[in-house]
């Protein structure tokens, strides 16, 4: 049995359905992420787990017990808020002590537990500081310490790193991964940042319009998106739609209007004449000057229309003779070469049939 079970949960605000019949389960010790654009229902779902909101239909079960009748204070879950929500009139120590005080932990046992929680988040020695004397990253650590000090069954994190700058965010991401491993508490993490979700999670539920579009491990979410939305939302993706015109074992050919037949491997068996989309990551496309390599796969000629130099990589937007745009990526790893091509260059693109991913429909 899963630790946390969301069963057919729906939440409506007037005409708007924020969460639409969502079912998922989180295992003990799992780092689970709800990922989606703003307004997709991920925060509403989190609030229903925390008890700040109640579902209109469906149920939230923890260890098999329906939490419907438990107010937030009686649920063994804790939340780390995006705004930190530290109590400004209490010191770091006071903030971390508060849940212990509310849980009626004897005063003599508190100092030791507070010290342990602060050590977990590497804030030893900050006990007497007030929240306004801390940096954003430190505040977030105090919020995590306050949430973990009573050893909840589940820790809910609502975009906890969104307000921090990129460098600090990466640092804290690594710390969160290590912390989660250390304490072994299930994390339910809400974010709209797909790279963060991919980096942190054991499993990701991609949400859109209140529904779970796809629930899987990060590598499968990225490599095998099951819808156009997921493919497009997670990373960059070339998407080409067309009809299935030929099938040869596991390989199908899709007639894409601006490209002609494109061959792609698939495990599903789409019927001839059915429509589908090929999702192709830019880094899977080989881009080269000169003659096409004589390898099986897909080959196209085109002209570099735009390029984006990003430092580590350069993104090339290539226009084919059919008028289709293909986005390809090249690492600038070779000595001195900042860019390999310029706008207007003729290039040759190719990718093997198993590079792309077929999405039916």
């Amino acid at each position: 049995m899963a630790l946390l079970d969301i069963k057919g949960v729906t939440r409506r605000f007037g005409e708007f359905t924020a969460v639409d019949n969502v079912s998922l389960s989180v295992e003990a010790g799992e780092f689970f992420t709800l990922l989606g654009p703003s307004g997709c229902g991920k925060t509403t779902l989190l609030r229903m787990i925390a008890g700040f909101d109640l579902p209109d239909a469906g149920s939230v079960l923890l260890d098999g017990e329906d939490l419907a009748h438990r107010p937030p204070e009686a649920r063994p879950v804790r939340t780390v808020f995006q705004s930190y929500a530290l109590f400004p009139h209490m010191t770091v120590e006071g903030n971390v002590a508060f849940p212990l005080q509310m849980a009626k932990v004897p005063p003599r046992d508190r100092p030791q537990r507070i010290a342990a929680a602060l050590e977990d988040v590497r804030l030893t020695g900050y006990d007497k500081r007030f929240p306004h004397e801390l940096s954003g990253g430190q505040k977030q650590r105090v919020a995590v310490a306050r949430a973990l000090v009573t050893h909840p069954a589940v820790l809910l994190l609502d975009e906890p790193l969104a307000a921090l700058d990129a460098k600090l965010r990466e640092e804290l991401q690594i710390e969160l991964i290590n912390l989660q491993k250390e304490v072994g508490i299930a994390f339910v993490y809400v974010t709209h940042d797909q790279t963060e979700a991919l980096a942190l999670s054991h499993r990701i539920a991609v949400m859109n319009h209140g529904r779970v579009e796809q629930l899987d491990v990060p590598s499968r979410i990225y490599g095998f998106p099951n819808s156009r939305f997921v493919a497009d939302f997670i990373g960059q993706c070339n998407l080409y739609s067309g009809q299935v015109v030929a099938r040869d074992g596991t390989i199908v050919a899709i007639d894409v209007p601006s490209l002609g037949p494109v061959r792609v491997a698939t495990r599903s068996e789409p019927a001839l004449g059915s429509s589908g989309t090929i999702a192709l990551r830019p880094e899977q496309i080989r881009i080269a000057a000169g003659a096409p390599a004589d390898a099986p796969g897909n080959h196209y000629r085109g002209t570099v229309a735009d390029l984006l130099y990003m430092g580590d990589v350069t993104v090339y937007k290539v226009e084919t003779s059919g008028g289709s745009r293909i986005e390809a990526l090249l690492a600038n790893s070779q000595g001195g070469g900042a860019k390999f091509f310029e706008v207007g260059d003729q290039v040759e693109m190719s990718w093997p049939v198993d590079a792309g991913h077929f999405i039916a429909g």
Binding site: F87, F98, P99
Partner: protein
């Protein structure tokens, strides 16, 4: 606003003079060594000395103090509750019901309270005056407390609940300490309103109970003696100190009352 605009400066000066010159005259003549408020004779503290020996005046001040303290304590508790309710339940009718007593002409409040007390056979005296003062102070406290709550991060209350606090504990340990400046400012305001009030007190005090404003009124019926000037000066000073204290404790006080009453 440009500081260098001479018209603006002049009109501001006139406005402030209009407000404060009469008060300044009262203060100045309280130190005047003459029985008449007509011309400046010389500096004296005699009127203050006389005040200190005036039994009726001291008794009236004592009554005002008792009424002021009890009215401010009770109205602060009730007004804070009303402020929290207004903040939490965004019903438009709630603020209206709380603020109406402030906007209703005092004389109406005074008359209606008098009729109310007589109907219920309440003996007019300290208690009836205190109750009357509580009714019009609640609204002021509620406004200040609500303004303070509006500036508070909503998630803090949620965070408290999340940390295991019952609604009452979340209020006691998180909300109340954070709105405390508003609560104290509200209490100080209630006290100054109570100690200054004449109209409502006049209707609800009955025959035997004299407060400071009532005593001053009865004295000027005969003539405005410099002793009245002296007691008015002290009253003004007390009010000023309390208002400054309230404004310092809650910087949003002045702004919020303007917004809510206009």
């Amino acid at each position: 606003m440009r500081k260098s605009d001479p018209w603006l400066r002049a009109s501001a000066l006139v406005a402030y003079a209009f407000l404060y010159v009469p008060l300044a005259i009262v203060v100045v003549y309280s130190f005047n060594d003459s029985r008449l408020n007509a011309e400046w004779v010389g500096f004296t503290l005699d009127w203050y000395r006389k005040l200190a020996g005036d039994g009726a005046m001291i008794a009236a001040a004592g009554n005002s103090l008792v009424i002021g303290i009890s009215a401010s304590v009770v109205s602060t508790v009730l007004g804070t509750m009303a402020g929290v309710a207004m903040h939490r339940y965004r019903l438009r009718v709630l603020p209206l019901l709380i603020l109406a007593p402030i906007a209703i002409p005092e004389i109406l409040t005074g008359v209606s309270l008098l009729i109310f007390f007589v109907m219920l056979n309440v003996t007019l005296g300290l208690v009836s005056v205190a109750i009357a003062h509580i009714t019009f102070c609640i609204g002021f406290v509620a406004i200040v407390v609500r303004a303070r709550l509006a500036g508070m991060d909503e998630t803090l209350t949620e965070a408290a609940r999340d940390c295991g606090a019952s609604p009452w504990n979340a209020f006691r340990y998180v909300t109340l300490p954070l709105i405390m400046p508003g609560v104290i400012a509200g209490a100080l305001m209630a006290f100054t309103l109570s100690i200054d009030d004449f109209v409502i007190t006049f209707f609800t005090a009955g025959a035997g109970t004299i407060t400071l404003p009532l005593q001053i009124y009865s004295m000027i019926k005969i003539s405005v003696t410099p002793e009245v000037n002296a007691v008015s000066t002290l009253l003004m000073l007390l009010t000023l100190v309390l208002i400054i204290a309230a404004a310092r404790i809650s910087p949003t006080l002045l702004r919020s009352t303007q917004e809510s009453t206009s």
